[in-house]
């Protein structure tokens, strides 16, 4: 049996999507512009893209670059962030560097990287890596800094070495914060993935989008936007499930209902 509240909770996102598409549909019908297809036209174009072998290979190549860039970024950023959080010397060294890199849009670095490494996979993966690294480092750093001193002392009294304390106390204690950073990183990975393919146009989902734009296939352009958006929603949903499982111990026990319902 599903309660009424649970039903409403499930129906809400569906309603939101349907509502958005409806507004799009009517706006498009009203404007009657060639470059603004209706929602139905855009959705109709999706099977063509996903059915096309070449497009599919392109999209999968994008996802592969994204996975590699994200994976390497997470594996390097978490240890760095944790070390920064527990060692003043490490923080003092890396903080200014990161402060300089943080506000620079990573796509703005692409021309330079392309000069050095070409327009291939390495360049794009590197840009994704840079995009993901900073939020993950930052959140790991904050998470590690906030770890209660007494918790580390308790571990030290049990005989844990400094390295063991970092891996077995700081890492799990900071995990909720780290995963918040990873979630931001995941969205940024998707964004930098598309941007990198828009700049270095050779393959990938971003390339399909811009080729279609060049050729005036506006329904394909909009269909690609829907596909990329759907990819983002799915990745985030999967990540959120994994995250919730990993940090079940830290979540509040009860959903506090807001009083405006």
């Amino acid at each position: 049996m599903i309660s009424q509240a649970a039903m409403a909770k499930r129906a809400a996102p569906v309603l939101a999507c349907v509502g958005l598409l409806a507004i799009w549909q009517f706006a498009s019908l009203g404007l009657e512009s060639d470059s603004f297809p209706t929602a139905i036209e855009a959705i109709r174009a999706i099977p063509d893209i996903l059915g096309d072998k070449e497009s599919l290979i392109n999209i999968l190549a994008s996802l592969r670059r994204m996975a590699i860039g994200f994976g390497i970024a997470v594996l390097l950023s978490i240890p760095l962030g944790l070390l920064m959080g527990r060692s003043r010397a490490v923080a003092a060294f890396f903080n200014p560097l990161l402060m300089i890199i943080y506000p620079v849009p990573k796509a703005a670095l692409m021309p330079i990287i392309m000069l050095w490494l070409g327009v291939g996979d390495i360049t794009k993966t590197l840009v994704i890596f840079l995009g993901v690294s900073l939020p993950v480092i930052y959140h790991s750093f904050e998470g590690a800094k906030a770890v209660e001193e007494k918790m580390l002392w308790s571990g030290a009294a049990m005989g844990l070495s400094p390295l063991q304390r970092l891996v077995r106390i700081v890492l799990p204690a900071a995990l909720p914060e780290i995963l918040t950073g990873c979630r931001t990183g995941l969205v940024l990975a998707l964004i930098t993935m598309i941007t990198s393919e828009m700049i270095a146009r050779q393959s990938g989902a971003g390339n399909i989008l811009f080729n279609a734009l060049d050729m005036g296939q506006y329904d394909t352009v909009y269909a690609m936007i829907i596909i990329v958006g759907a990819m983002g929603i799915c990745l985030d949903a999967v990540f959120e499930r994994v995250r919730a499982r990993l940090v079940r111990w830290s979540e509040p026990q009860f959903d506090m209902p807001l009083s405006f319902s």
Partner: protein, 281 residues
Amino acid sequence: MKVVPSRSSEWVRPVTSQQPASAIIEIDRVSQVFQTSARKDHLALSEISLTIEEGAFVSILGPSGCGKSTLLYIVGGFVSPTSGAARMKGQRITGPGPDRGPVFQEFALFPWKTVLGNVMYGPRQQGVRAHEAETQSRALIEMVGLRGYESFYPKELSGGMKQRVALARTLAYHPEVLLMDEPFGALDAHTRTRLQNDLLNIWERDRKTVLFVTHSVDEAVFLSDKVVMMSKSPGRIREVIDIDLQRPRRRNELLLDPRYQKYVVDIERMFDESDEVGSPS
């Protein structure tokens, strides 16, 4: 015994040489200076010397800011003294170790571990096999009155329950000395009383050495064999008072015992006097 306990060596270590053989912790002219700002140094502890005998329950009592917790952290090896030394069984303390188990006011449980996981952590770290560690830990959890809560996470427990887990977690790796840093300070009065009673019951079974920091006079008198009174700015030992009350102690008997009442009143009066003479606040 070797033959040559020369006079000079006795002179160099006056604290140790005069103490009975059962001393487990010696604090030898320990001072601690904290830098509060660029130029000002704060003398938190000044030349503290104290010997704690094996199996004794010793409370360190003093107003906040007298450095009593710092003294405990020095014995724990978490803080290095600016000068002087603390020794455990004659060995200079240079860092934390499983022979000295802390219990903090803040509980400091591992929130990602269940109650059982927390209690098993120390034994597992010491290489006790999982099965054996679990059996021992379950027994300890029962001893602190938390049977049935083994698979709960710390966030699901009340403050009093958390402190019970923290106590069990520390007892689990068999430290020779328990270092308790205002362990009941964050609890409400009722819970506090219950935990004091339970701690005393547990302690009276195996009489581990306990160093117990508190600012509550009745708590110190109720629990301790010896109360070390400290005064602040700089942190000094004012008085060491032996609490000569029979054990096992029962709260309801003790509260009616004039000797208990006298200890409490005397100690409180001493604090009041020092307040008048001491800081203007």
